[in-house]
């Protein structure tokens, strides 16, 4: 979950609802993230200093809170991607031909 959200933030700075919408769109509505999960992940990533937040310009009468990936976040995402590839390869070895 963390890596999906980190990936989306790494593409460009985004805000909460934009991310949940993007996830639904990219998975063609096969997967929806619950808001509670989303904000818990924001808190966690922020605490680990993988993302930082700032307030954007005023839209709909209030300021939107945007998230931006930090250099540490980028390095972490890279690491996660490598690990995931490795895991996938190994699982594939056993699941092939079933």
């Amino acid at each position: 979950m963390d890596s999906i959200i980190l990936r989306l933030i790494s593409e460009k700075d985004r805000y909460g609802y934009e991310i949940s919408k993007e996830i639904s769109e990219r998975t063609s509505d096969r997967f929806h993230i619950k808001e509670a999960t989303l904000y818990a992940v924001f808190q966690r990533l922020h605490r680990k200093e993988l993302i930082e937040s700032y307030y954007g310009s005023i839209t709909h009468g209030s300021k939107r809170k945007y998230y931006r990936i930090t250099p540490l976040g980028r390095a972490y995402l890279h690491e996660i991607a490598k690990e995931w590839q490795e895991t996938k390869d190994i699982i594939d070895l056993f699941m092939e031909g079933l």
Partner: protein, 133 residues
């Protein structure tokens, strides 16, 4: 939009007040409002849209856990400070005993005994610090 605010307030009722709680509440409320606007744009009634947004929100416990975790690092720091304080404090007390020993009764070495007593202080603080690490 009033019921959305009431719902978010109700969700956060059991979480201890903090600045972070207020900002995250505000953020969630704004994003939910936008979601409701979106759903209404797709032809839903306002009431339906609000209900859908609320149902899809999920379990608040996840956020609660993350908010509560923030308090742990503060405790960790305290035990480290306690350990440092106990080390410096006991060093001062021990050096006082050493001074008194050699200044007044240089023929008899007795400062070791109170030294062992005082050493319990940093020792207990050390294990307390080790446990919180």
């Amino acid at each position: 939009m009033k019921t959305l605010k009431q719902h978010v307030d109700a969700l956060f009722k059991n979480i201890p007040d903090s600045e972070e709680k207020e900002t995250i509440k505000q953020e969630i409320l704004e994003n939910l409002e936008e979601k409701v606007q979106d759903l209404m744009g797709q032809g839903k009634e306002e009431e339906d849209a609000i209900n859908k947004a609320i149902i899809e929100f999920g379990d608040i416990d996840e956020i609660k856990q993350e908010l509560l975790q923030k308090t742990i690092p503060v405790k960790k720091n305290m035990s480290k400070i306690n350990l440092g304080f106990s080390i410096w404090g006991s060093l001062l007390i021990i050096s006082l005993f050493v001074f008194a020993n050699f200044y007044y009764t240089p023929d008899e070495i007795w400062f070791v005994y109170p030294t062992f007593v005082v050493l319990w202080w940093p020792l207990s603080m050390f294990f307390y610090w080790l446990r919180t690490k």
